[in-house]
Symmetry: C2
Subunit: 326 residues, 2 copies
């Protein structure tokens, strides 16, 4: 099975984004430093850039709704957003959320927001506002969509421009993910729920399927923040997997080689691959495979990262082949 | 019929927001100036406040989807957000959008974003990024949800604190709305679609029902911006109508009296009221009735507002009775 068979067509989505891009870039003025297609939006104010990003947790929300566990999905959203702006060197300032629903009980909504608020505090930012919108007969009963918007800040002189810094010979570190994070759930659900229920205990996973699928998207801020000055580039491995996310930060004359053998993918990914007969390349295009953040550094800086126990999972090589998973 | 009968229960929503509030305010730190329940979030940075707001267009989206007219819904969203932050004295800097959908064709999405981009340019802000999320079998086919986040800025010294400025004797100006704006669509659709089709030409409205319901939410920035220094308070008349929105800006010892006879409600509101047998008070609680923005000023400043042809629709009186529509 391919991601496309589960209803998500990355190529077609990329076409949509291309069509959208030409309208978006027309609004860019002298205060915008964004290039369309980066992880976050960039706005210049005094000596800082304000970096913003918008995300949802995708169909992971359906796992929360099916299990009635609503107090962790907020952290998924917050951490996803924080990781996105971290890739520019920015640290979070404030967050807003949108919850859209037709019929959801009060307790559920309060649980969602209490989770959001705790995660914001952990990430040292303010949940500054949000919108709780009831759209009659629009969403299925008991189901809601959850969207987050983060604004962070980076001093102009500290703004991370991977394309200018990354050189042939640099190494790619991989930081562990906790599981699927917020990615590839349409494919995962399609494959796994044919055989298992959410309440099934799965031996390989050492937990129930629901527990595995609700594992919280990790934030890498705490580990990366004190080491930002040694970082040349960061790729948050979300939709588009290793291919699309690493490609976004490569200089034109550099390629990235990821060596799969350097780490053991988490058991959940092998399970999905085997059950769904998902081609190997598709797995690395859709999922994080156990690596949630790639950090590109000069080989000599490795000792600064030792305390956070990264895996060296690849390197930057010459040529414009893009990303190769080997 | 009441709004509640159309599936939207404002009281219950207010309870949800109260439950949420205590978690949200826990994240507030020294840089937050927000009080929970205001129009926008406030974050202090250097000599400015960053003011942010999040909104959706509610079920107006269903009119866009039913008619296939997707190039104006973006302006509804942008203008709604701009008006919200304007109430603090802030002018917009940048905007992000979220479009969630399951199956929507590419052309539709590009139309939505082209409308967003044009409205952003008109409001002198940057569409700095966004998220286009495909959630398999989550949204009905052909339907999408559209959410916007705006960030604006106001100098700390110009920050508008209506509660400190509004005095007994001040007058309330009303600026015309174009129609429903983005509000009360669940009730309006329920009432109107029992009798009419969207394509029906309605004599009182001088247009088809679809044309009426798609009229674009007005932005009041252009009219208010050059007069901000004469403004004591602004209430954007959205969900909660005159009651909830004016109450938010009243000092504890002041009440607002709105005199209904000072303007003629737009024909669409009379049509909804008559067809749906909606109680008079409910109309002013749900809809804008033809006034999209209330501007509270000192009586002596009236001449500064003459060029934008406001109606004097009420005044500030003594007492803590809140908002009275008379």
């Amino acid at each position: 099975m391919l991601y496309k068979d589960a209803g998500v067509d990355i190529d077609s989505l990329n076409l949509v984004r291309k069509g959208i891009g030409k309208h978006v870039t027309k609004t860019f003025g002298r205060r915008t430093r964004s290039e369309y297609g980066l992880f976050g939006g960039i706005y210049s104010i005094d000596s800082d850039f304000l970096i913003s990003s918008c995300d949802s947790v995708g169909t992971k929300i359906l796992i929360a709704c099916a299990t009635g566990i609503h107090n962790t999905i907020g952290a998924d959203l917050v951490n996803h957003c924080v990781n996105d702006i971290l890739t520019t060197g920015a640290l979070p300032l404030f967050f807003m959320d949108y919850i859209g629903f037709s019929k959801v009980d009060r307790k559920t909504l309060v649980n969602v927001v209490s989770g959001l608020a705790k995660a914001c505090t952990r990430e040292r930012m303010v949940l500054v506002g949000g919108e709780t919108a009831q759209l009659t007969r629009f969403y299925p009963d008991g189901v809601y969509d959850l969207v987050g918007f983060v604004v962070g800040k980076v001093r102009k002189k500290d703004y991370l421009i991977p394309m200018k810094r990354i050189k042939v010979g640099d190494i790619i570190l991989g930081l562990k993910s906790s599981g699927l994070h917020t990615n590839g759930y349409s494919l995962a659900r399609r494959v796994l729920l044919r055989k298992y229920r959410l309440s099934s205990y799965i031996r390989e996973l050492k937990c129930t399927l629901a527990q595995e699928l609700l594992k919280v998207h990790r934030s890498y801020r705490k580990e990366i923040e004190p080491r930002l000055r040694h970082v040349k580039g960061l790729a948050h491995i979300t939709g588009g997997g290793f291919y699309d996310n690493l490609r976004r930060i490569l200089p034109p004359d550099c390629s990235a080689v990821i060596r799969k053998k350097t780490w053991q993918p988490l058991p959940i990914f092998r399970l999905i691959q085997n059950l769904g007969k998902v081609p190997e390349e598709e797995m690395y295009r859709v999922f994080n495979m156990g690596i949630g953040m790639c950090v590109i550094i000069d080989r000599n800086k490795l000792r600064n990262f030792k305390p956070i126990r990264p895996k060296i999972i690849g390197e930057i090589v010459k040529g414009n082949l893009g990303v190769k998973v080997d």
